[in-house]
Amino acid sequence: MIVSEKKTDSKNNKNAETVQAVIDQNRDNNIDSKKIKDFRQKTTLKKRATFFLSVFLTVVVSASVMLIFYIGRNYLSTSMGEKFKDSSHSYAIFLQQALTRRAGFLDEMSQNQNLIEAYQKKNKFQLRKIFESYLQKNPEIEGIWILDRRGEVIAYNPKRSTGSSIEWGKLVDEKYNKDDWYKSCFTGNSAKFYPDMAGIDTSKTGLPTQVYSWVKPLKFYGGCIYLIENSSYMVQDIFRKREYFKNTAHLNSLQVHLVSKDAFLYWTTSLNLIDNFRKSVGHIPMVKKALSEPVGFDKKISYRKTDYIIGYTAVEKILNPQENLFWDGSILLQADFEEVVKPVNELLKILVVLALLLVLAVCVTSYSVAAKVLNPLIDIEKNLDEIGKGNLTVKDLKVKDVTEIGFLAFGLNKMVTRVHALISLMLQSSQAVMEWSQRLFSGLGRVQKSSGEQVAVLEEAAASVEEFTAAVQKIHDASQKQLNGAETNRKNMGVLTSSFEEAGRKRQVILDNSRDAVESSRSGLVLIDEFGTDMKGISESSKKIMGIINVIDDIADQTNLLALNASIEAARAGEHGKGFSVVAHEVSQLAKRSANSAQEIATLIHETVKKVRASTDRVDSARTVFERITKNMEKLEDQINQVAEMTKDQEKMVFETAERAGIVAGLAKEIAEQANLQNQAAEEINHGMGKANEITAANVAELESVDEILQTFMDKIQMLLVSASQFKIKDESKKKTPDELMQIEQLML
């Protein structure tokens, strides 16, 4: 034993060297430390890059959004501005043309003696006619509404080719009868065309209802309107009303021509108009437009921050050139572009602030996200590196959040503890195995000794086998006795056989009787069938009789009808038919009586048929009963036959049993022979025991080779111990007893 221990010590040293060599080789093949350093630097760079990239992206996105808005705003401003410019420009041109035309118109009017006459006579009808005929002759003068001093429409030309009044013309064409509408302008019956003008109380304003006929289209379609003389006062009243401008927000321009001899009136009307329009359109202030230089009246009207220059043109003296001077001017009211764009600008400002806030938010979130994601990852990588070096004493990672990375760290921690526990367990258990193997080794010697003792035991077993052989001999003797008993049994069976033969004769008599009974029941069935056929014959003939009775009944009925008609005829014949009437009566009586007796016969026949039917039913039931009896009889016969067969079988069986008793005696003989054979087998077992002795001796030789195998196993365990000691393990793991090790193992599982 001492020699073998020394051997193991020298082997331990050798094993340690080989394990170290293997580990070093593996380390060379793995990633070297330079590469690891590179990897760490790259991770840090990536961390920074992700942060800056996200910030950069946010800045770009918000900047582009703002840029789009800026471009949109510029586009809006240019397009809208041009639109405004266009419209104002076209209005200006139109106004100038209109003014020129009207100047001509007024000139011509002043030359017209008829007009002057009509005006002086206040002949409205004539005035209207003159204006109309003039407008018809000069269709290029369009969209002129001529009002007299009471605000009534004197003449107008609704077919305007320019401006939005054309829409009005269309509306009138489509919706209303144009003539009606036109008439309403002169008759003041326009309320039905403008029911929503109810907002203006005419009784309070003192305006004639006719005014609404032109105020309404102006309100909805803008355009150009001429106010002459005192009509301006009335119109001014309307323009003072906020109601009028309630729904005019859709108008971006309104143009009003004022013709008045009173400059002050002209001025105030203009101001009211401007003010109300501004209020109605709300946030959009006015942009004024100088249309033409004022003549004879030089004044600039300022209104709030915006200047309004109202152009004046010299007005011809239409009626009394010396006394009445008319002021004529035009006002163009237009929306301001800057005001339209204002909300867009404000939106842009809000957008800038929002973008800045967004950038800030992204910076904060991206930094925190990067910190959250990358820092734990770096920690994990460090820990993994230490584990790779074999250091299992690394600190546990802190698990802050329940995220994927948190789970990773948690898993790593778990793995380290598990691996640590496993390695220490492995170390301890291999030490324990070592100890056990040594004990086994020492035990082997003892096994060799006990093998020798086993041989002696086997010899004792051989002796006991011989005793067994003797017992078998005794069994042999007993079977011989059984053979004798079987012979006596066979003799008793002979008596039983003779009594069975007597029973067979009686059975034959029963069979003959049952056959006779079946025959008689069958002949009864045939008789019943004949009876049934007779009954059917009766029922058929009674049916025929019923048919005949029906015919009789029918004839009686017919006769009755004939008698009735005969009595009718007789009655019609009056006195001559009286005798015939009596005959008819008698005939009808006869018919009735024959009908009655036919009916009686019918009932009688009915009764007969019923009875026949009843007896037929009874015969039928009797027949079924008979059939059943016959069937039963046949069954009985069958059963008796079967019983006979069975008793025959029984007889046979008895005979066979008798035979078998003989066979049993033969079998007993065979058993005796078998006992003999067993005796021989016992001797063979005895022989086998000798062979077992030899095998035990061979076993002892095998044990020697087991000794050698155990030696090599212990070498391997030594090597395992050395390689496991490469891991750094905490001190707490000291040597443990095998029982403690078992506990740990169970916990691990």
Partner: protein
Amino acid sequence: MNGKNFDLTEGRDQKKIQQAKGSSDIVQIIIFSVGNEDYGLEIEKIQEVIRMRTIKHLPHTPEFILGVMNLRGNIIPVVGLREKFGMPPVDYTEFTRVIVVKHKNKLVGMVVDEVNRVVNVPIDKIDGNPDMVSDTTRALVRGVANIDDQVIILVELDYLLFSVDEIQTDMG
């Protein structure tokens, strides 16, 4: 039969009957039934009694006008007395008869459930002016006969066939 005179002043219906009968003491009456009730009709009014035949229905006619039937080449209108009396219609049986009457010189058929018999009634057994519930019933009843202690209503043809006149005119 008893040779008794009846009162001439007892209303128009009685008068009519008397006029129809002349001075005769005996009236021949055909008894027919519609539903559960028996009715009577003087034999003189009747042309003949026939069995039920195929009736051709006429559109746009009142319910009680069943249609027209062919009587030996003559097309005559047929009135259902059941329908006329406002009873529910039933299937025709072997007893169903058509009483052909001459009304205003035109033949008309009347469908009844059964024609029972001809009876001879003494004229004094007929009450020509019974108390009736309504005018309609009164128009229908020509008189009431007491036959073998059974009250038989004698029907008024003028009432029964009132609506048939128009159809007859159309057909004519």
